[in-house]
């Protein structure tokens, strides 16, 4: 074996520019990274995005408000309920529509289920990147249970089009509650299993502890929100800060990290899963009776049973389905807490039946700016770990 030069010896190094992606097993989606490497140390990093840019915002300008909902939910394709909520909430604020309490609770239940779903996908794929391949199977086993619940309530596993302006499109079916309670009882046990596997795993610890640290102030400067910010010690959560849906009535904790390294990010998200289960349980216990969608026929489709008896309902239905409702000119920005951070919807209405501008402020897009800070000066392996913990979803980044 040749003699290995001791560290710090006069090694001739050069900086190479390497292209990672857009097709790469470790990039979560089609992200292209142009990294300047000196040996194994990352000196500079430039993310190149846009490989799944779908022009959703432009397409939305061409559709009536009702039809925008399926478009908008396909941006960040793992947390689809959140995009629906951002858009529907923005429209509701724009037209001044109040949604009934049952709809608020139902929306909260589905949002928190989707948060668990998103974190499960994140945990499975990130652990896969780090080599803990069994996590993928276990996380997706739970994910399939959540998707069964979604399918039971809405008919679709993903991209359910469940939230409508004014509430939700359908009430939950019989048997949903029982199945959801089963899930609620089971999930904390499963999360405990995940923690048993990873929390004190030596390889996982050595890869995630102390890597990818960005100080809290820098994260705030960069506009980073969500679990990344909370892992760095800043207890900022839009669910607690702003009152929307049924969150003010829920009692839940917001997990906050201390150091801000990758391990903290992992712990924060896993703890969030448990808190989400608690929120779902509370919402299910406190689910009020009543209508699941607002009554205002100008914006909400009348129930089909009325169409054969009431002429007015027929006219409303016809108008809503063909042209859609017109919204007075105005603009609104409405932000919620998605699994990745602040998901905001800016809506500009110009008085016609189609929105003039729909812009989604996506959390992953802004969070990606922190990636350079996380990785410069660390090894490539740490960069991959940071990328996993950053949890970018390229659909949201590229829109």
């Amino acid at each position: 074996m040749a003699e290995i030069a001791p560290a710090g010896a006069n090694l001739e190094t050069e900086v190479m520019t390497i292209n990672i992606g857009p097709h790469h097993p470790a990039t979560h989606g089609v992200l292209r990274l142009v990294v300047d490497l000196e040996g194994e140390i990352v000196r500079d990093l430039k993310p190149v995005i846009g490989y799944v840019h779908t022009g959703i915002e432009k397409s939305c300008e061409d559709k009536s408000y009702w039809k925008v909902i399926p478009f908008v939910e396909r941006m960040d394709y793992v947390s689809y309920f959140f995009q629906m909520e951002a858009f529907c909430g923005a429209v509701e604020r724009l037209v001044g529509l109040e949604i009934p309490p049952r709809a608020k609770y139902l929306r909260t239940i589905f949002l928190e289920l989707n948060r668990i779903h998103s974190h499960l996908v994140w945990l499975g794929t990130t652990a896969l990147d780090l080599g803990a391949i069994s996590m993928l199977w276990y996380c997706f086993r739970e994910r399939d249970k959540i998707l069964d619940l979604f399918e039971m309530a809405t008919g679709q596993r993903m991209h359910t089009r469940y939230f409508q302006v004014g509430g939700v499109i359908e009430d939950i079916p019989l048997g949903f509650e029982a199945k959801l309670r089963e899930f609620i009882a089971d999930m904390p046990v499963r999360v405990g299993q995940y923690q048993d596997l990873l929390d004190r795993n030596e390889v996982f610890l050595s890869r995630t502890k102390g890597t990818g640290i960005v100080p809290r102030e820098r994260l705030l400067e960069l506009g980073v929100t969500g679990p990344l910010l909370r892992a760095a010690g800043e207890p900022w959560d839009l669910r607690k800060a702003f009152d929307y849906l049924a969150y003010p009535e829920m009692d839940f904790k917001v997990p906050v990290g201390t150091v801000g390294d990758n391990y903290d990010r992992y712990r924060v998200r896993v703890a969030e899963m448990v808190e989400s289960v608690r929120i779902v349980e509370q919402a299910l216990d406190g689910l009020p009776e009543g209508p699941f969608i607002a009554d205002d026929r100008k914006y909400v489709l009348p129930p089909r049973s009325e169409l054969s008896t009431s002429m007015e309902s027929l006219i409303h239905h016809f108008k809503l389905v063909t042209e859609g409702y017109r919204v007075e000119a105005g603009e609104v920005y409405y932000a919620i807490e998605s699994p990745r951070g602040e998901l905001g919807c800016y809506l500009l209405a110009d008085g016609s039946a189609k929105p003039a501008r729909v812009h989604i402020r996506d959390a992953s897009f802004v969070n990606l700016q922190a990636f350079k800070d996380m990785s410069v000066g660390t090894y490539v392996a740490d960069m991959i770990c940071s990328l996993g913990m950053l949890d970018p979803i390229l659909g949201g980044v590229d829109r």
Partner: protein, 215 residues
Amino acid sequence: MRDRQLRARDMLRGDLEGEELERYVEEKVVMTNFEKLLGWARANSCFPLTFGLACCAIEAPISIVTARYDLARFGAEALRASPRQADMIILSGRVSIKMAPVVRRLYDQMLEPKWAISMGACSSSGGMFSNYAVVQGADKFMPIDLHVPGCPPRPEAVLYGFTKLQRKIMGHPDQGWRQRYSAGGTEEWARGGPRSEPSPEAAAAYEEARGLVRA
């Protein structure tokens, strides 16, 4: 077909002699069995490429390799990251204009025999995104063997499509149709609209492919 029937009857009657008989045996028995074996082996040990673009990627390739919708029982467990080692690409997700040359390059880097499944509405036809940024169907720039509709298609739907693809592989289609249809020659048909005719080679290839999957 009739010709084959007549020759089979002749052979059974003992009327085919000499060269004819040899040729018949070669065609029918040896080649066919070997090709069948080859097709069977290829179909049941497909190496898909780990390639996910957008929403469909969560259903495939991630969800179909997980325990509930197990792709491994069809033999396609070994997902390969490098296109040089893969023989099937599942286009799961919308193909944007920036990504299309990348996908084409990946497809070209794959070695023959290779197959492409276009999963979901977006890669089959642009899906709901009829706008400037999405290629209206991956057919526009690369040959696709199988389209799976849905938005996103259920993993079971993708698996059903995969079994159809397996049948197609086992039928050992003439791979040359892809050279003829590398989306280069059929542009006039795609652009001419549904009333115009495909080129004769493309028409023959489509007919053959349709027959194979009609099982």
